[in-house]
Structures are given as C-alpha cells and as structure tokens.
C-alpha cells in the first residue's frame, strides 16, 4: 500500500525526522489558513498517486496566503493523468544548498533491509544508478540487530558529509528512517530530497512510503490511512473479499487461481488474439462465496464479452469452484458465454456439477483461450 506524501512525512516526523512545517488541505480556504499559520512563502503540492506531478502543474509556489488560496483552488479538482486531485499539501518553501538522497528498501538479493544513500539527490535514484552508479552507497542492516550506529555513520561519511555535526545529524536521520521502516512494516521508505539548509542542518523535503500489504493486519493505524479514492470500485470490492483483481481494457474476463497462472492466462488470451479484461486471482483454497463474488465483479464490467475460468486445483477444490459458479449464475444470470477449464483436486465432482450448466467446457488453457477469443469476437 502506498501512502500519500502528506501521510509519509507525518510518519517520518513521528519518528523524529525533521520535515518542513505545513498541513494537508481539501479546500482552498483550508490551504489559505495553513499558509497564514506558516506565515511565509509556501509550496502547494497535489496529493495523487502518480509520478510527474510537477510537470503536470500539480506543484506550485505561493508568496501570500491569498495566492495560496487561489493556487489551491486551481490544483484541487485538477485532473492529473486520469486522477482527480482531492487534497493538497501546503508546506513551507525553504532555501537550501544541496540535495541528497536517503532510503531503506527490502532487498531480495541480500534478503536484508538495505540503506541507500547518495550525494546526488533530487533526481530519481534509478537515474543515478544509470548515469553515476558509484554515487550510490548501499549498506545492509543486520537482519536481527538492525541498523547499527556505526553503519549510519559510515553512510554519512561515504556520501561526503565530512562535517562532524552534519554527519551526526545524518546518522540520526538514517537511524530514524530505518526505525520508520521496521515499525511500519514498510517495503520502501525514501527521502528525496533530503536537503542541506543554508545553516548546514538537514531537512526532509519530499518522501515516499510503501507498506508491505502482507503486514497490514498488524497495523490498523496504517490501514486507516488507505486512500481508495483513486481505486476503482470493483478493486475495492475484490479486496474486501480477499480477491486480487486488476481491471484492464480488454473484453475477456478471466477468473484464475494463482497469480502466476492468472498472468499466464492473460498472456495466452493475448497470444490467441484476444485482450484480457482483467487480472483476477481467487487465491488458494477459494470457497464458493469467493468464486461468486469474483464472477459478479467480472460481469459488472460492461466491456466483458466472454468469461474464461482457468482453475488448476491444488489447494483450491474444483467442486467448490463449480458450486460458486452455479450459485453466482442463479443470482446474476448472464447470457455472456462462459468457458470453463477446470482440472485438479476433486475434478470429477466439479465437472459433474457443471455438466448441466450453461458453461462451455474446455480441456486445456489453449483451448479455453481460443474459445473465449472466438466467443468475444462473435459478440463484438
């Protein structure tokens, strides 16, 4: 789960990382009040989950509270890459000497939390990795003891912060950032840029936090920060039912068990000339209620002209899936062609249950995809 910038900076501040003063506003009047309280030049930033806000006109400076109000009224409601801006961050605009980069990530290769720092901040770290890889310093935190103070100091000196006081402050921030990461079960905490102010002190200007979805069960305070405003209703419904659903633009609805097979099913639909309408993984051990919800979500998409079921039962029992499909069709009857390829655990019982239904059987993934593509084309 991704946090908005205003949420990310609040989380960093809670852990003792210095951030600029400011607050979040949902109306222009609120933006004005925040600017008045700050009593200085402010930056107004659109809070949407999309890169390139600045280029799209979603980040602007305002010299006075009146100007802040006027700019906020422009940005609020603005459309940035298909997302409507509903909130703006109003923060102090400050001057600084230099931008640096600091983050903690979960590194698959070392199986550790790795701290990353660079003297080249303010640009995307991927860009630095391409153009100047030696400017990136990585230090893995100890898997059980965590980030050690000496490691945080090493990081500071390695990016050229040779002033003792400054290096100490950087090490404190790095340690706090690591704590933010661990306490929040994050998969990424990034400050970019972390700026060196004119007086030599450090301040976090912009930040990004991603939370590990698998750990949200133990972080109700973070789950409460979830912003579903840019998430399609169908995806919200699916998440509530513990189904992974991602809407795509095609005409063939797919219901599959297992993420890898769901992706492969989409690939095969495409290979036979069709376009998948969605990614949908009902997960392992799905019961009939889940299958019914999944089918309802798929059928709610008006673009869907055919639905293919690709179930390879292991944990999931084919008979349970069959019961779910039958139950769903009783509640949401449809004339859309449904192609079913069901195999694996309790297959015989599942196929027996479906034999009298409207489903068109297929024995292989390729056959199911071909039939679904034909059916969708015939209906178009």
């Amino acid at each position: 789960m991704k946090l908005h910038e205003y949420q990310a900076r609040a989380l960093l501040a809670q852990h003792g990382i210095p951030v600029t003063g400011g607050g979040v506003a949902t109306t222009a009047a609120e933006a004005r009040t925040i600017a008045e309280e700050l009593g200085r030049r402010v930056v107004i930033k659109a809070q949407v989950f999309v890169g390139g806000r600045g280029k799209a006109g979603g980040v602007k400076l305002a010299d006075t509270p009146a100007e802040a109000e006027q700019i906020a009224s422009q940005i609020l409601g603005m459309d940035i890459k298909g997302l409507t801006v509903e909130k703006v961050l109003v923060a102090e605009a400050i001057s600084y000497q230099k931008e640096i980069y600091l983050s903690a990530i979960l590194d698959r290769a070392t199986k550790r939390v790795v701290m990353i720092a660079s003297a080249e901040g303010g640009v995307e770290i991927e860009e630095v990795a391409r153009t100047n890889p030696e400017a990136i310093i990585k230090i893995p935190a100890h898997p059980q003891l965590g980030l050690q103070e000496y490691q945080a100091r090493e990081l500071a000196f390695a990016i050229g912060l040779t002033d003792g006081k400054q290096a100490r402050q950087f090490a404190q921030i790095a340690t706090a950032l690591y704590q933010t990461f661990v306490k929040s079960d994050a998969s990424l905490v990034e400050i970019n840029p972390l700026v060196i102010r004119d007086d030599g002190s450090l301040l976090a200007l912009d930040s990004k936090v991603l939370i590990d979805d698998s750990a949200l069960f133990r972080h109700p305070e973070l789950e409460a920060m979830r912003d579903t405003s840019d998430e399609p209703e169908a995806e919200q419904l699916a998440r509530a039912a513990d189904i992974t659903f991602i809407k795509l633009d095609g005409s063939i609805g797919c219901m599959v068990n297992g993420a890898g097979l769901a992706m492969a099913t989409m690939d095969v639909v495409k290979l036979y000339g069709g376009e998948p309408a969605n990614f949908l993984d009902i997960g392992g051990g799905a019961d009939k209620n889940k299958v019914r919800t999944a089918l309802e979500i798929i059928l709610a998409d008006p673009n869907v002209k055919a639905v293919m079921f690709n179930i390879f039962g292991g944990i999931t029992r084919v008979d349970e899936v069959a019961r779910g499909i039958i139950a769903a069709l009783e509640e949401v009857p449809t004339s859309i062609p449904l192609i079913a390829r069901l195999t694996g655990t309790n297959q015989e019982e599942g196929l027996r249950l479906l034999a009298e239904s409207q489903l068109i059987p297929a024995t292989s993934l390729a056959e199911a995809a071909q039939k679904a593509v034909e059916a969708a084309k015939a209906a178009a």
Binding site: A264, D267, L365
Partner: protein
C-alpha cells in the same frame, strides 16, 4: 533420483489439524509420503488424520521421537515465521513453508536464523515439492506428475501444475518439481535449485518458470551461462501485465520499467534457454531439447 525429497523423507506437519493442513496431509499420505508426525501445541499425545499420524506439542519432541527430517508448514501467516524458526532450531534440515501472506520483514530475521541453523527453507508462499513416485511435501497435485528425467522449478503454484501436466501428457516425467514462491524474501532461490538439478545425475533437462518483478530470472540466466550444461526451457508469466500494478504475488510488480517479462525472456534466450510462448509449449520444447541432446 530426485532432489531434496525422496523415499527416505520423514515428514512432520506443522498445523496438521487445521482445515488446509488436514486436507493436504491426507493427500500427502495417500500419495505414499512417509508422514511421521504432526505438531500442534497443546495437542501432544493425540493423533490426527484417522489415527494415522501421532501429534506432538513441539517440533523438538516430534524430531526426537520420530526422526523427522523434513517439515511442512500450514499454519496461518501470523504464526508461520515462528513455526519456521521452531523447525530450524530443532535442526530439521528441510523446512517447506506453504503459508502465504507472511510479512516480508519477519522473513528477513527468520531467514537469517535459518541460515545460522544451517538448514534449508523453501518458501514461504509456495506449493512445496513433489518427487513423483517417491514423496509429496506440500500441495502439488500428485496425479499430474510421473517419474522421469525433467526437473521443474517455479515461482508460481498453479502455473507449475499447468507445465507439469503438459509434460506428463507428452509422456515426459519429472525428477522433482519444486515451487520456490513469489515473495520478495524466500529461502531457496532459482540458483540453489539449478545447482541441485545440475548435480543430480537423473535430471536431464530443466524447466524454469518465472514471472515479472525482481531480477531472479536474470540472475538465473547468468548462472545458467556459467554453470548449467543441461538444457533449460522457460516460460515467463506476465508478458501482458501493466507497469506499476502488483499482480497478486508480493513480488510480481513491474516498477520503473524494471522486472518486465520481455527483459527476462531476452536474458534467458541470450544464454541459450528456449522460452515458450505459452505454458503448454514447454513440453514440446523440452522434448526437442532432449532429442537434440540424444543425437549429439
């Protein structure tokens, strides 16, 4: 032959009385796997699965009493890291964690502990292993596999079944099928398994099933170039996946243009791996690769 599990596997099941644990233990027993113990804290002294398996309170007791040498975990995500650590501390040489949704940070500390104990972890969030005709540890359906010369390693569960089913239908059996899981932090990776398949005299060819996200397939390609002489056939799921959307598995996301199916396919093809366009084509490509080897 096979890798990691075989006829000598003495399996203990953590979470044997849960719904999934009981269901799959029955299926492992029916496959002929030697399930020697179950562990459920507070139920020591009882037995499970129609009295077929004795239950112990702790892994340590179960290992002492039964000589279990492999553990499989079906407990819920919040308890899975502790279950892994319990088996590691008891010195169980092979621990297979089926549980999905385990917080990644828990796995960082847990994996370090597993390493310290000198044991092997497979998973979490994986379908486990199957050595056809010998033993089944996990949830891979036994009926789709037959003994034979192909080693199968995969990040996915059901996609693996698809590929194995296709091999079996073409009359090609398998030495061992192993699902390593698609989470960011996993115990056993592609390179570990490629090393074992390369060393296993019975394995003549290898199927590697990958997906979008991360760079494990690229690392595997580099390893294959340097160390694997047996033919490798691959399929990479997610060729049609959009960027920035997490495709179910915690690890399956294309970010910043990295981790795409296209770049993985390119890396694998560059080192001589045949990459199938759809999962069922894997079987034909394996057949061709093995025939070509038999001739040369």
């Amino acid at each position: 032959m096979s890798i990691l599990i075989n006829k000598d596997t003495r399996l203990l099941v953590q979470g044997i009385t849960g719904k999934e644990g009981a269901f799959h233990t029955r299926s492992m027993l029916d496959y002929g796997t030697n399930v020697v113990a179950g562990v459920v804290p507070g139920r020591g002294g009882q037995s499970a699965i129609e009295d077929r398996v004795p239950v112990f309170n702790t892994v340590k007791e179960a290992v002492q009493a039964t000589g279990a040498n492999t553990s499989v975990i079906y407990v819920p995500a919040a308890f899975a890291p502790d279950a892994i650590r319990e088996s590691a501390a008891a010195g169980v040489p092979l621990i297979v964690c089926i549980t999905e949704g385990v917080p990644a940070l828990d796995m960082v500390a847990t994996y370090a502990f597993v390493e310290e104990c000198g044991v092997r972890l497979v998973g979490p969030n994986c379908p486990g292993l199957l050595s056809p005709g010998q033993a089944k540890v996990g949830i891979i359906p036994g009926n789709i596999a037959v003994p034979g010369p192909v080693g199968v390693v995969s990040k996915s569960g059901t996609l693996t079944y698809e590929a194995v089913d296709a091999l079996t239908r073409l009359g090609i059996g398998q030495t061992t099928i192993i699902g390593i899981g698609g989470d960011p932090i996993i115990g056993t990776n592609f390179i570990d398994v490629l090393t074992m398949f390369q060393e296993d005299p019975e394995t003549e060819a290898i199927v590697l099933l990958g997906e979008i996200g991360g760079d494990a397939e690229i690392q595997a390609a580099n390893f294959i170039k340097a160390h694997v002489t047996k033919p490798v056939v691959s399929f990479i799921a997610g060729q049609t996946a959009p960027e920035g959307k997490r495709m179910g598995h915690a690890g399956a996301i294309i970010s910043g243009g990295e981790g795409t199916a296209q770049e993985k396919i390119k890396a694998l093809e560059a080192v001589g791996v045949s990459v199938a366009r759809q999962p069922t084509d894997i079987a034909q490509l394996i057949k061709e690769a093995m025939d070509a080897r038999a001739v040369s």
